[in-house]
């Protein structure tokens, strides 16, 4: 309950700061570059290999039924709906979320957040809102891009391993069984994961106490809880959407 409450408070603070337009634009820009742009290589590298793994793992099924034309559909379905958002979410939680918790935790245990308050700077405007927005944007945009990269990885592996021509792959992908609804499904997940990662990492960073070991503990808890929350919300969204 404390976990959910912490996330809710952080997200509300961020929302309020955004609606009032009182958030620090400079911090937001820096956050987008540092948390967002610099995570893209990791996300892309992961996506490329994950696309390959999808094809390798579905290879026995495809060869068993001789259904090479379905490869694009299978890989596309898995990547767009589940694997793309989950893996991007996990990587962003590992890279950006833990970094965010560590920074905020360090600021907290060294009393620098109280220092901000003493200077009449609202931490919600200066720290919370820019970070939450950066992580949210990073997760959504990163998921969208990583889906494309993962599909490229899947197509390349399909050609190398199974001899499926990329055009066959593309036809399987666009053959009518997948729609923009599947992409939207993935993007909804990415949006929720972004909220979860941003909320968890910020809340745990701000609650860190007990010196440097406390920061380590906060990072650990935040990363673990983000991962659990990603899988749980993924299950909930999947079941709630009933395959649409």
């Amino acid at each position: 309950m404390e976990f959910v409450g912490g996330i809710a408070v952080v997200l509300l603070q961020a929302l309020r700061a955004t609606l009032r337009r009182s958030l620090d634009v400079e911090q937001l820009r820096e956050g987008l570059i540092r948390l967002g742009l610099h995570s893209l290589p990791v996300v892309f590298g992961t996506a490329l290999f994950v696309g390959g793994i999808m094809v390798i793992q579905s290879a026995p099924l495809m060869t068993r039924y001789g259904a090479h034309s379905l490869l694009g559909w299978g890989a596309g379905f898995g990547i767009l709906r589940e694997i793309g958002p989950i893996l991007t979410g996990l990587m962003i939680s590992g890279r950006v979320g833990s970094n965010n918790t560590a920074e905020l935790g360090t600021l907290q245990v060294t009393e620098q957040i109280n220092g901000l308050r003493a200077l009449a700077i609202d931490p919600a405007d200066y720290l919370v809102a820019p970070r939450v927005l950066s992580i949210l944007v990073t997760t959504v945009v990163g998921t969208l891009l990583s889906m494309a990269v993962a599909l490229v990885g899947a197509a390349l592996t399909g050609q190398a391993l199974l001899g499926v021509h990329p055009i066959t792959f593309w036809n399987g992908l666009t053959g009518g069984m997948l729609s923009w609804g599947d992409v939207a499904h993935g993007m909804v997940k990415a949006f929720v994961f972004g909220l979860v990662i941003a909320g968890t990492s910020t809340a745990y960073g701000l609650r860190a106490k007990g010196g440097a070991p406390g920061v380590g503990r906060a990072v650990n808890e935040s990363v673990v809880l983000s991962a659990v929350a990603i899988f749980v919300t993924d299950a909930l969204i999947s079941f709630a959407s009933r395959g649409n």
Binding site: V42, G45, T46, F49, V50, G52, I53, I56, Q57, A59, P60, L61, R64, F77, R81, E82, L87, L90, M91, S93, G94, R95, S98, N99, T101, A102, E103, G105, T106, V109, T157, L161, M177, G211, A212, P213, V215, G216, R217, V219, N220, V223, V224, A227, V228, F231, V232, D234, A235, S238, F239, R242, G243
Partner: protein, 344 residues
């Protein structure tokens, strides 16, 4: 105060005879000359950069004499029976010196940790197995249980879209669970939980100079911190994979039973699983178990710069471990696929 310059002139002006040197090496104070010896960092200890004697009259000596004397003193150090001297004169290829940390990537850490496994304390591995394994059990089972449910649900919906036949979902699900999913997902979860833990622990020890304190007590950090975690992780990861896979199988079966009315008999059918699948799964879990502690301990050992540095090290550990898991999964999967495809 006034004695101090006198003392220095005494040492530098008075040409030291050869005679005191063996005494120095053999006496209890001989542990001091052995201190700087391993800066040469060669495993045989054949080129120590200096002993206490050249330190005192260093400027008055020519390099040849100096190296000869250093050789002689290292011989003495080797023949001496003091334990500390023997260990230092024959340094392991690891992190005995802080200077050793400046070089090498994760492979260097891996080599050092593997070399150090022979010198571990009894009980250290059991402690780490408790720490890494038992405490991750609930986390791994929770996540894999949810994933099992989701996968069967999504697969069922898609299968019904194409052919109204749900009888192959179970066997295909079991096959992919054995081949890849159980190992990869367990490892990704461990990369997050165990990797972050190892890096935070070793990293905060590093930035608070506790690693140097260990070295001062002639306790090698690799032997005491890295090697037990490595062995424990290699032992525990396959077990966790099997348990997590069992939980995923359970939730998947229940989802199939409740949502799609697939009978237990139809669902629990392992006809697609063959030896290659089992080998791939086990090989992956062992490889992941090796990669995660190495990447994380490496990130921890190379931490620098205060508590901010610990945060960065944790990040690097989680990202590095996750990437290693994904890349290794790809490589091993492709390898097994090519080999099994060639055989069959």
């Amino acid at each position: 105060m006034t004695d101090d310059p006198k003392g220095t002139t005494h040492w530098s002006a008075g040409p030291l005879p050869q005679a005191p040197e063996p005494e120095m090496g053999g006496s209890a104070a001989g542990s001091f000359p052995a201190g700087p010896a391993p800066t040469g960092s060669s495993p045989s200890g054949s080129s120590p950069s200096g002993s206490s004697v050249p330190l005192r009259e260093g400027f008055s000596e020519r390099p040849e004499e100096r190296s000869q004397r250093a050789l002689a003193s290292s011989e003495i150090a080797r023949s001496a029976t003091l334990d500390s001297q023997v260990t230092i004169a024959d340094p392991m290829p690891g992190f005995v010196l802080p200077a050793d940390e400046a070089r090498g990537g994760p492979l260097h850490t891996l080599a050092a940790a593997l070399y150090a496994t022979t010198r571990m304390e009894p009980g250290a591995v059991a402690e780490q197995m408790n720490q890494l394994g038992i405490r991750s059990l609930g986390f791994v089972c929770l996540v894999l249980g949810f994933v099992g449910g989701i996968l069967v649900y999504q697969a069922g919906i898609q299968a019904l879209r194409i052919v109204p036949d749900t009888s192959t979902i179970g066997p295909a699900y079991i096959e992919i669970l054995v081949r890849d999913l159980a190992a990869s997902l367990t490892a990704l979860m461990l990369a997050t939980r165990v990797g972050a833990g190892i890096a935070a622990e070793i990293g905060s020890m590093k930035v608070t100079d506790q690693l140097d304190a260990l070295r001062l007590s002639s306790a090698d950090p690799v032997v005491h911190l890295v090697a037990p975690r490595l062995v424990a992780s290699v032992l525990v990861t396959p077990l966790l994979t099997i348990l997590g896979g069992a939980v995923a199988l359970l939730t998947g079966t229940l989802t199939g039973l409740w949502v799609f009315d697939i009978s237990l008999h139809t669902f629990l059918d392992a006809r697609y699983v063959d030896a290659a699948d089992l080998c791939a799964g086990l090989l992956k879990s062992v490889a992941f178990g090796l990669a995660i502690p190495v990447m994380s301990a490496h990130a921890g050992l190379y931490t620098s710069g205060g508590s901010q540095g610990v945060g960065n090290a944790t990040t690097r550990a989680v990202v590095g471990s996750s990437l290693a898991v994904i890349v290794l999964g790809f490589v091993i999967g492709a390898l097994v696929e090519v080999l099994a495809g060639g055989a069959g």
